[in-house]
Structure formats: C-alpha cells, structure tokens
C-alpha cells in the first residue's frame, strides 16, 4: 500500500481535528506512508477515490488505501448546522442564517411552484430509502416509514420536514484501489468512469435554479468515458439528503424530463425492482448522511451489489453509478463501476 487517502468533511469545520490522514495511517501501523486528507464537504469521499485512482493510473503507487470517515455525534445541532453551512457562499448566504437544508428547501419550494407538485409527492424517496435500509446492518435507521407518517413530521426548514431530512451520522468505510493484475480475481470491480464537475457556489447566482449543472455535466462526461448509455446502469447511489436532491439529480442525468422527476418515486422506478434503483443501502436518509465518507461508502455498497452480496440486492446488477456532492452540487463526483463477468 503506497498511500493512505482519507476523506473527512467536518473534522476541521467542527474544530475537532484537521488533517486526519496521518492519524488514520498511524492507527493502522503505517506511519511513514504517503498521506492525503481531503475535506471537500460531501464530495470528499468521491474525490479521495478519484485521486487514488489517478495515482495508481499514473504509476505513482501500486495500491492506495482510501478511507472515508466522519464523526459528528460529539457536537450539538447548532454547531453541526454551522459547519454544514460552510459549503454555502458564507458571506452572502450563511451570514444571513441560511443552512444547507434551507437551501434544498428553497429549491423544493420553487420546484413545487413551477411544476404544481405537493410536498407529499416527494415522500416515495424517503419511504424507499427506509424500506431498503431494514436488512442493512450498517444503516442508522433500520425501520420502514409510511408516507402518512411523513406528513405529520415536524419541520426542519419548511417545506422540508424531519422525515424528508437526512441525519448527519458517524461512519467510516474503506476501499483499496489498485491496478495489480492478481488482486481479488473474480471479485474485482472496475472503475470505468470517474469525473468531477463544479458549479457556482451561491445558489442565487445560478442562471437556472433547478438545474444541477455539476450533476448534469459530470454524468454526461462519465457516460462518455464508460461508453455506455444511462439505461445500462443497473443500480445507483447519490447524494440524496432530501427527496428534492434525488429528483433534481435524476432530472439533470436525463432519467426524467424537467418537472417530472417526482414521478420516478410515484411509479416505483427508484425501488429495487424499478428501472433506476436508488438508496439500496438506505441512502443518506436511512443509512445515515456520512458526509465526507459518503463517496467511499457508495463504492463499498455498490461493490456488494456488483458481487451479488448486498443486503438489499438487485439481482444480476452489473453496472453501478455513484454520485456525491458538496453543498448543492458545488463539486460533484461521479463514478461508474462495473463488476467482473
């Protein structure tokens, strides 16, 4: 193992620990190894995977260990909200008391207004996430919820209620990226596409509020790299802290026309037996929103799907999509993974 790359979004932002990678390496008995800490909010995990892949592809290392880790349960809600709000434009958004959740809520309100949909129309997304998390021993909430229960939940940032808001959670995941020909023969998962795309940070400065440009651009580049169409993707996991996040991503990726992404929830397309199964491990809502660790969790979870060993398995899954983002898609990391034949 030539290097240890560690993704951690909130350690420094919460004033707990910065530059965590050397500490992780030391704990593993690997002191002296090359280390890299990445703190790009919810995109950190995906960026760490990508940087490891690039280092291996460049021949700098034969193998790189990628760790995603988040520890948020040490602090109270207000400090956590402030740390999360650092991925907004802090002078022009967070300074006015705006939170990341409130930003998603404002996009949801605008979406409801433009396309005449109700808050309840987003319910299938958290309902699906919770149902999928039940068999997942690594999930935070292993219980189902109903659309009725969602309606009666208290507000976090209206129109987003408690049951359509992810819980930021502790968590850790690790993967090894290597090009070694003998590694894990028969169980290997190949990264067939890896992209990063960025967007304007301040939401009010985006020309089209409901277009997640980073998702759209990054996904288009990923499909081109992998030389596949979107229909070839069997399973997916995305930054989905709220139904609106999944809806806007699905529209940006072309799975639904503008204003119709909510229908993918209502028709069951996002469920394990649907055409684009999402949140198979519980998503950010029920697995837990592990922030900087998310992109690494996704690779672990999708690897299980491609090996046929996931707790909520889509039979015969061959191609998987992972997508994680900082803020409202400020940095978006997209990977497409393929299992071995």
């Amino acid at each position: 193992m030539g290097a240890v790359y560690v993704a951690n979004a909130l350690g420094a932002a919460l004033g707990i620990q910065s530059d965590v990678a050397p500490a992780v390496a030391a704990a593993l008995g690997m002191t002296g190894v090359e280390t890299l800490s990445i703190d790009a909010g919810g995109a950190a995990g995906g960026l760490a995977v990508r940087q490891a892949m690039l280092a291996v592809a460049a021949g700098a290392h034969e193998a790189v260990l990628v760790v995603g880790v988040e520890k948020v349960s040490d602090v109270l809600d207000e400090r956590r909200e402030s740390a999360l709000a650092l991925t907004t434009d802090t002078d022009w958004e967070a300074a006015h008391g705006v939170t990341l959740t409130a930003q998603w809520a404002m996009l949801m309100r605008r979406y409801m207004h433009e396309y005449a949909v109700a808050a309840a129309d987003f319910a299938p997304f958290p309902v699906n996430a919770h149902a999928n998390a039940v068999p997942n021993k690594a999930a935070l909430y292993r219980f189902a919820i109903s659309a009725d229960k969602l309606k009666s939940a208290g507000m976090i940032a209206a129109p987003l209620g408690l049951l359509d808001c992810s819980t930021v959670a502790d968590g850790a995941a690790a993967v090894v990226i290597t090009a070694h020909p003998d590694a894990q023969a028969g169980r290997r998962v190949r990264i067939v596409a890896s992209t990063v795309a960025s967007d304007v940070v301040a939401l009010h400065d985006r020309a089209d509020l409901l277009d997640l440009q980073g998702v759209r651009t990054g996904f288009a580049r990923a499909l081109a790299q992998a030389n596949i169409s979107r229909d070839a993707i069997d399973v997916a996991d995305m930054s989905d802290p709220h139904g609106i996040a999944a809806v806007l991503s699905l529209e940006a990726m072309g799975y639904a026309a503008r204003g119709t992404g909510v229908m993918l929830g209502q028709t069951g397309a996002i469920t394990p037996s649907g055409s684009i199964p999402l949140a198979l491990s519980g998503g950010c809502k029920a697995r837990g929103d592990v922030m900087g660790a998310l992109g690494v969790y996704q690779v672990v979870e999708m690897t299980a799907q491609l090996r046929g060993t996931a707790p909520t398995q889509v039979p015969g899954a061959r191609v998987a999509l992972t997508q994680c983002m900082s803020g409202i898609g400020n940095s978006v990391v997209t990977h497409i993974l393929q299992g071995e034949e």
Partner: protein, 124 residues
C-alpha cells in the same frame, strides 16, 4: 461573524450597494472589484423567488427560530439571499413584493459588537 470581515462588506450590507459595469452597464450584486466596475446603489425593491422557514438553526441564530429566509429577485435584476422580517410564514408567497430594510444580523460573539445588514420586508 468577525468584525473585520463584516466591515469590508459594509457598503453592500448596509445599503445594498452593487456594481455596474462601466462599459456594458451590467448591474450585479454582490459588488465586484476592479476598474471595470463602479458602485451602483440598488433600489432595494424586489420579489420573492422562493423561501423557507428555518426551525433548526446554525450557531448565533438559535434564539431566532423559526425565521424566514428567501431568495429575492431585485428590480434591477440581480438576486440576493436574505432573511424576511416584519411578516410571518403564512403571509409569504412566491412573487410577493418586498423591500430592503437594515436590521440586526447578529453579533461578534464574545465582543458583543452588533452587526447590521439587509433584510427584506413586505413592501409598504
């Protein structure tokens, strides 16, 4: 929020001063630096594009919940994110006409210095 950081932005925060491009006339907010841009006083009039009522607040806003935040399209074109004041959630709607007022945004913490800036209220 720190005092120095707030003070550098005082013209924008206290009187919603944007910038106008000297050649093309384009009006922007937040203001831009550089010789192509000159200060431009915005009218403070605008309409609500979207809004949210925050119940789970960040540090420094714990005592204010619930409070309203909105994205506002200013009459001159630029958009701005700010709190809504002098109204409650039931009154607010997309398209509502609002105007800028200068109000208390928060303080510097232990120093206790008060920081003022723009909020928006229903147009009188």
């Amino acid at each position: 929020m720190e005092l120095a950081r707030h003070w550098r932005l005082r013209n924008a925060r206290y009187r919603l001063e944007g910038s106008q491009h000297r050649q093309h006339g384009q009006i922007v907010f937040p203001p831009r630096e550089g010789r192509d841009w000159q200060p431009f006083p915005l009218s403070g009039k605008g309409t609500v594009l979207t809004y949210s009522e925050i119940h789970q607040a960040p540090l420094g806003h714990e005592g204010e919940v619930p409070y309203l935040v909105a994205m506002i399209e200013l009459a001159e074109g630029p958009r701005v994110t700010a709190q809504l004041t002098d109204c409650d959630a039931a009154e607010v709607h997309i398209g509502m006409a609002v105007e800028m007022v200068t109000r208390l945004l928060g303080d510097t913490g232990v120093d206790g210095l008060l920081l003022y800036g723009y909020k928006f209220r229903p147009e009188l």
